[in-house]
């Protein structure tokens, strides 16, 4: 088991006053809150922070923790002395941890599950097990074509000795075709199962990884389509990928870079389906050989053109 330096985690001195600890918590909580933060390890940092605050804000727990001495280094293997907490009465109380927050083994060894607040939150319906919530990051294809994905979940569970453990659990889930970012899949009966057999549900909130071709905007998709200058200028019919397979897309003559073409109903196949927006990009052929250079020169001579006319120079 690793020793955790709660003072270091919160960035406060060992003799910090309660007000200073609270201030540090608020500042760091805003920085690492998983709903707000874009830091890579925000969730882990926020949990660690919540745990540190849980101990340091509580005079009894803090005093007990201080008893352990400052000789330990974070990460070092740690075993508490057998009677380390003698004489301390923990009043428990509501914790500030994130939902489903599991405290570290270090915390649980020192303070047990008594210190864990909000564990029974949500158990309003005594006849049914608790619902579980999770978030998952899927590839966009899962929504575009549907299909089965393996979802790895970490579930806090209570073992036979009443200790909280984290169980890894893999579910194969048929992803409903057309699901949008931010929507939630309900998996009936996959929550906590009570002894009488009545189980809660599992709710999985979906987000998508960036896609190779498409950008996602609600139920619409955006595709940047490179076209040749002559295709844009003269008009052309070009092959364009769509989630349902390639189509022939008509480029109107006189198109410019950034021209947006809407392909109705070819977005995310939700109900109703979204649209596909094709944004034209003009790709230039390289002028590396003599023939191509001559063609560019001929164009320059034939079509006088000032691309900077509107810049006033």
């Amino acid at each position: 088991m690793e020793f955790k330096d709660y003072y270091k985690i919160m960035g406060v001195a060992r003799d910090a006053k309660e007000a200073g600890i609270k201030q540090a918590y608020r500042r760091l909580a805003r920085k690492y809150h998983p709903d707000v933060s874009k830091e890579k390890d925000a969730e882990a940092r926020f949990k660690e922070l919540g745990e540190a605050y849980e101990v340091l804000k509580n005079p009894e727990k803090r005093a007990a923790y201080d008893q352990l001495g400052s000789g330990h280094r974070p990460g070092e293997t740690f075993r508490p002395p057998p009677d380390w907490d003698a004489g301390f009465e923990f009043s428990g109380g509501a914790g500030g941890g994130s939902e489903g927050a599991a405290y570290s083994e270090f915390f649980e060894t020192l303070f047990g599950r008594r210190g864990r607040g909000g564990a029974a939150q949500g158990a309003f319906d005594a006849g049914r097990g608790e619902d579980h919530h999770a978030k998952v990051l899927l590839d966009l294809e899962a929504s575009l074509t549907g299909g089965t994905r393996s979802i790895g979940l970490r579930v806090p569970e209570v073992d036979a000795e009443g200790r909280l453990i984290i169980k890894e659990r893999t579910l194969n889930v048929q992803i409903p075709q057309g699901i949008l970012a931010g929507q939630t899949i309900r998996l009936a009966g996959q929550g906590t199962r009570l002894h009488n057999g009545a189980a809660g549900d599992l709710y999985v909130e979906v987000e998508f990884q960036p896609h190779r071709l498409y950008r996602l905007d609600g139920r619409d998709l955006i595709l940047e389509l490179p076209v040749a200058p002559w295709e844009a200028a003269l008009g052309a019919t070009v092959q364009t990928p769509t989630p349902g397979g390639p189509i022939d897309l008509k480029i109107p003559p006189g198109s410019k870079a950034g021209t947006k073409l809407r392909v109705k109903g070819r977005g995310v196949p939700a109900a109703p389906p979204g649209d596909l927006y094709v944004v034209l990009q003009i790709a230039l052929p390289a002028a590396t050989d003599a023939k191509a250079r001559a063609a560019y020169q001929a164009l320059a001579a034939a079509a006088p053109f000032d691309p900077r006319a509107r810049l006033g120079v």
Binding site: D35, Q174, Y203, A271
Partner: protein, 104 residues
């Protein structure tokens, strides 16, 4: 994994099933109905219908409510602050999507 216990779960999209009642939404948020009513009164959650008992929540209400309750609890911000944070988060999310095509 042996093929014998290979099982594929079929789920439904909560937002597409039906509009949620106040009772269902509070159950899904593991919060008391009074907390949800506060969110509606602050304008954080749009509710269609007249009295609280007839409210129906759709679209992003579930995600919005859960985020609002988390922010309120973890950051100890008041409801007006939560409302502002949610609106700004949504706007940032939208800008990020335009930039990268995802929320990531």
């Amino acid at each position: 994994m042996t093929p014998r216990n290979y099982q594929v779960l079929r789920g439904t999209i909560v937002e597409c099933e039906s509009l949620l009642s106040l009772e269902e939404l509070s159950r899904l948020c593991a919060a008391e109905a009074a907390r949800i009513i506060e969110l509606v009164e602050e304008g954080i959650l749009p509710a269609a219908g007249g009295a609280a008992g007839e409210w129906r929540f759709g679209g992003s209400a579930l995600r919005r409510a859960r985020t609002a309750l988390r922010l309120q609890r973890d950051l100890e911000i008041n409801l007006a602050g939560v409302a502002l944070a949610l609106d700004l988060l949504e706007e940032i999310g939208e800008l990020r999507r335009r930039l990268h095509g995802t929320n990531a």
